[in-house]
Symmetry: C3
């Protein structure tokens, strides 16, 4: 069970306006619908306002417009979702395993592991690798030669990082992620594919989170670059020599092809794809399921979703797509005919 | 080599009508085309009827309509594919490794492992975890704190299950699957993404199969839920707080975004995507490659496939898509002109 | 630091015409933009010709048309990219770890490991498995019963290969790849999905490369087949009983559904999907993001990309897609009306 805190202490720590009993104790965050008497909840969207009345939450975090929407003890602030995130992080600190290398791990000669770092069982830390202070490496991770891992980094079980890659401070990498595998570089030579050695690396900045089973390939010649504060969801594929600008967020199942440069503060929806050798400026939002085939030189939202429909209706409409050119030609001819009919009169 | 069984024994066990020699021995299942003299084959689609004649199968499983389609010893039944599935399972029982924990694994204090369970090498079973009777855990699996794994569960090599997740009885989880990684919860705060702690869990019912490298994220506040009998293929991404109803099947490479609720007995084709915060009723079939952008409140089949074509033809037709609004306007104007021409007369 | 080689030695080894000082020493390959004084660079596309002048490369590989495009010591050849690939491979040989089985690995009785093979820590090589000469198996790989792995194969950390699969000579398999997991075979029986045992295997030819977190399922009855020289990128899903012809290349995030047969020398773009039970001839190019729904019986390029646009423009155009049939009908009626108006005159 989490430790409890007084509402007044929370406001003392994170700001906002306290309304109601400051002695109210909260131990955990919860949704309005599932909160119990020791939970603090939040209202970030009007859509859930009807849940306020029935909620059993001990206290609520609200925006200024909802200041009087409840009688409960409450914290009024500018951005309730952000406030809630801070409270949740405070109430749910990541558990910190004890420092040291598990005896069932292998640390090769010349690897340097900070004394405050924790290395789980069945890890292989190859020669020349460096693991920073307070880093936590889960079970069965593989850290290649000369990899550098910053301080306060957390790798969950089963992460593989190939040789020479760099992971900045405060990064989180989830299970099954593979950093630094060879990019897909091949050249056709007399009926066979020749492999292009991938001699670049992957440079990951600080405060980056990388989802489960995501893959980020090493560069062919230069490096693949993930700047500070980038957040990448699960099963994303980042090809060789891609560069992702700071604070860009990429949702799950997205593929980014080789040598594409994505700006800062972009938001890329899930299951999309961005072709290779493109350049996308800062502050671009790409809808889920959208394929980007050309560079984007203006901020804004971009979309390419083919609308779904009941199968029978889809069939009826889609058949015409294969004849859209003919349809457009037909309309052009009709225009001409009508114009000529008008003229004849 | 598999043990052989008399056709009569198989009919005794699984029902159906035996026609021909019941002493016929079969040891394995095979397709009509590749069957040898100790194999039993099946015909589930008229498409393969021409292969019956040349098949070297010792016996065949057939539907009632195909009762006389061959002279071979045969089993006539209602659903030959289901019958075949049962015979195949009977002839090919999953090998059951010996009980016990491999000496090269780590079991933390307070973890409980049933005496009939088998734990392969290089597994890490953290404190508070429980592994059920006859469970088989492959090599290099990571089982987090307080995880509960039911009886007769099979985890193949390299599965990662984060803390507090629950896996019901008779589940199969394939290599590289990651259960319970953090959902993709972030909030923008003064130019930086704040991480929203993901304090929910993943609850997986019984008789669920989860494919290789599939990821199922833990809930942000409440839990992610996979009900009984759900079958999930490889490389599927299930985001936080998704709920998947019993007996729904999801093909490979599909992404399901956060908080979406999918009904029971749905069939979701591969490489599709379902956006977040949607609700899909029972008995919905979604075609492969289809993106679902709105809730679905009626059973049936839904599709959104952009038709492929030779590249040159695609180019010609697709160019008009960017001007579809203008085309529709043009047609509207033509209608008006024609109407006015008609009126003038 | 790499060892240096004389330009004349490189031409002696790989052919081409040497222009300029043959004593020039090069130690590494690099792009024109980032090359330093010990690097050899290349020009394979006119797009980068402007970088030649400022490049600090010691020498350059050029095509015949660019023979005089620089004064630097240079190698003129037919295909600069292929030549560069060969030079890069020569300058960057894959490190070969020492032979032998790491003491922290488990090799079951009856497994055969060639004396020149190298097995990293925390591997589990099950009974009956065979590992060929000069094979290098990274940390935490799981090699199932009776798996056969050819000579000079390299498995990076965390590869799982299920029982009975075969990997030919000179293959490279990246981290997190799963070979031989069960195909997605289920049959509905009285409200529950029955599992169809997957008793086929995966047969992988020689000179195949398989990307990180790619999954290749075992066959249901017959085998899944990957022929010689096939190159598969990251996060590709190959379903049961697929057959991929020799020298076909498949980019990342692509899904290939069950029993589809793909020809030789095909190129399949990323994030696409190919439905099941199709047949695709040799020399077919499929664009990225394209879904193939029917068999393809003629070589050539095929595409199905829905064009992206600024969100507002997309909304305006896409709305008409749901009424394309009505639009086409409208045009048909207009044609009739105009024709009848013409006739009346």
């Amino acid at each position: 069970m989490n430790r409890s805190f007084r509402l007044a202490d929370i406001v003392g720590r994170f700001g906002g306006e306290l309304i109601g009993e400051g002695e109210t104790l909260v131990a955990q965050v919860a949704t309005l619908a599932s909160a119990g008497s020791s939970d603090i909840s939040f209202l970030s969207s009007g859509k859930y306002r009807h849940q306020l009345q029935d909620s059993r939450a001990a206290a609520v975090i609200l925006g200024k417009a909802d200041r009087e929407a409840t009688d409960k003890p409450r914290i009024v602030c500018d951005n309730p979702y952000v406030y809630f995130a801070k409270v949740s992080s405070f109430l749910n600190p990541a558990p910190q395993p004890g420092a040291g290398v598990h005896p069932n791990s292998v640390v090769e000669e010349g690897a340097q592991i900070a004394s405050s770092a924790s290395i789980g069982p069945f890890c292989c830390i190859e020669k020349g690798a460096k693991i920073g202070e307070h880093a936590v490496i889960g079970a069965s991770c593989s850290i290649g030669q000369n990899v550098r891992i910053g301080s306060h980094v957390r790798l969950y079980a089963g992460v593989s990082i190939y040789h020479d890659c760099v992971v900045g401070n405060n990064c989180i990498i989830h299970s099954g992620a593979v950093i630094g595998a060879d990019g897909f570089g091949i050249a056709m030579d007399e009926g066979k594919w020749l492999k292009i050695p991938q001699i670049g690396s992957v440079l990951i900045g600080s405060d980056v989170e990388i989802g489960a089973n995501t893959t980020i390939d090493r560069g062919a010649l230069d490096d693949t670059i993930i700047e500070d504060g980038v957040k990448i969801d699960n099963q994303v594929q980042v090809a060789h020599n891609v560069s992702i600008g700071a604070h860009t967020a990429i949702a799950g199942c997205t593929g980014i092809a080789g040598s594409t440069k994505i700006g800062r503060y972009c938001k890329i929806g899930g299951s999309g794809m961005i072709l290779g050798h493109l350049s996308i400026v800062d502050h671009v939002d790409i809808s889920a399921g959208t394929m980007i085939t050309k560079s984007i030189d203006a901020p804004g939202a971009y979309t390419a979703i083919y609308p779904f429909a009941p199968h029978r209706e889809w069939l009826k409409n889609t058949a015409h797509l294969r004849h859209l050119h003919e349809l457009a030609e037909k309309v052009r001819r009709l225009e001409e005919e009508i114009e000529s009919m008008g003229r004849k009169k």
